[in-house]
């Protein structure tokens, strides 16, 4: 209940600033362009695809690449959304309001996290409308669409949790944004080194850490609980770290 109140305030705050609207508009525009380009290519490849025995469907060939691009773009956008979560409140001294109210640190952090996550889900919902418009003409693979949307939402949860934690560390929103972006990018490319590491265990560990790897299997329509667990563990870890960090605020200055 309290978490919902806090999340609601977060969303309200987001939509009161032009940032949320411009992010939604820019994302929609870029992805619409990609969507149309992808669709164009698929249509032009139609004659060849008809020859193939197991041709990729429209869901696999058009929609999944859109979501992959979206996840990459969002890696740069989410830090901008999460950077002010705590740092801005700390800077304008409004964090005192939450600390003096009868609410726990856990509620504060979860409220903020779900606020951002709901916003991201709204954004993903708007992106999903574009591929859904294809269902007028063709049959979509809804199973695949479901796993890819789920994968994207989980990935955004991970991004948001990392961003939230970074925001608790500093009072400078820009510092929070750049460090969040740094961590996300590192986790994105961490398995690039994996293939060059001779030790098989090490490369396996690096591959396991990669955010992208776990998304890849989901975007093939494979619903693997270990991928889901990876994202959930990631989210929980950073949320716990954030709560601990807020507690430290009270202990030390």
């Amino acid at each position: 209940m309290m978490i919902l109140t806090l999340a609601q305030r977060e969303i309200r705050s987001l939509f009161y600033s032009p940032l949320a609207w411009s992010i939604l508009a820019v994302m929609q525009f870029i992805l619409a362009y990609l969507f149309l380009a992808q669709l164009q290519e698929y249509i032009s490849l139609q004659p060849q695809l008809r020859m193939m025995a197991e041709a990729p469907g429209v869901t696999g060939a058009v929609i999944v690449p859109i979501f992959s691009s979206a996840s990459f773009i969002l890696m740069m956008v989410v830090p901008l959304l999460t950077m002010r979560l705590i740092s801005e409140e700390r800077r304008s001294k409004t964090l005192t309001l939450l600390f003096s109210a009868p609410i726990s640190m856990t509620e504060i952090i979860l409220g903020k996290f779900f606020g951002i996550l709901i916003f991201l889900v709204i954004m993903i919902g708007m992106l999903t409308l574009m591929p859904l418009s294809l269902s007028v003409g063709v049959t979509l693979d809804y199973g695949l669409l479901f796993t890819v949307v789920l994968g994207l939402i989980l990935m955004m949860g991970t991004f948001a949790a990392v961003g939230l934690y970074m925001s608790t560390l500093t009072i400078q929103p820009t510092v929070a944004a750049i460090s969040t972006f740094g961590i996300l990018l590192l986790l994105w490319i961490i398995d690039w080194a994996g293939s060059k590491v001779a030790d098989e265990n090490a490369s396996g560990a690096l591959a396991y850490l990669s955010i992208l790897r776990h998304f890849e299997s989901l975007s093939k329509g494979v619903f693997n609980s270990s991928d889901i667990m990876y994202y959930l563990l990631f989210i929980i870890t950073f949320l716990v770290l954030s709560i601990r960090r807020l507690d430290v605020d009270r202990l030390q200055h």
């Binding site: 305030r9 705050s13 009161y16 309001l97 600390f99 003096s100």
Partner: protein
Amino acid sequence: MTNQSLITVTHLSRHYGPIEAVSGINFELNRGEVLGFLGPNGAGKSTTMQMITGNLAPSAGKISICGIDLLDRPKQAKAEIGYLPEQPPVYRDFTVDEYLRFCAQINRMSREAIPAAVDKAKARCGLEQVGRRLIGNLSKGYQQRVGIAQAIIHSPAIVVLDEPTVGLDPIQIREIRRLIRELANEHGVILSTHILPEVQMTCDRVQIINQGRLVFSDNIANLDQRMRATTLLVALRTPPAMDALSAIPGTTQVEALGEGRFRLHHAQELNPAEELARKAVAEGWGLLELTPERKSLEQVFVEITSTEHVEATAASEEEHAA
């Protein structure tokens, strides 16, 4: 805990690394009382306020709010406190109404009670006209009032105000002071300030804190007593010899200020004014002026804080020598 004490603070201390910001403070706040917290900058006023309101964990000591231990059960204890920090914690992109509604929600008020509470808080702080305006567009004075409205919206037992009149114009200051007096009818109020007349006007009891220690704690009447100085200012047309003046019973010292003006120091319990007037008439000194001098609160404040400082350094030197 059985009496009316709203806050009981025992041996409260707070260190920032090696610096001792607050050390071993004890005090109580009773119902219907305005407690003034005075002290020079950096004395530990704000630190104490932050600890009472749960924004800062104390290094040692105990804080109990309405009998609830703040550290053991923070949620229950915090529900009884309204806090206005030095800088009002307002969301600039919210309207006053939205903001106050949110404050009521996070203080766990029931949905039905919120509209009435918002209206009441607005009425008490004179915010009826600005309910639909963005807080960021309001003047500093109005933002401060929104801050106070936020602190009282859930009618807490205790209202803690950290320098509530900073940055306000004289008329607003008077209104806020009146509001603070009003609040004391229902709530216990702790007021931190470094504006001394404010304490005289609004507080029932005063605590002076200096270098993290409580150096004075008494009610305002006793502070008044302390302000009654032990000097008389006398102007005479034909002044007698100094000896004649110092011979008046009670006089301990006479200072000549020139042109027939004198300052008489006297003992606290024996005021020589009456005797002086009688003598002046009898012996034809030509009494022009006889004024008991009052010490200003500033002087008392400086006296208290500086003597304490001297004592403290003396004590530390002794320790050092030992």
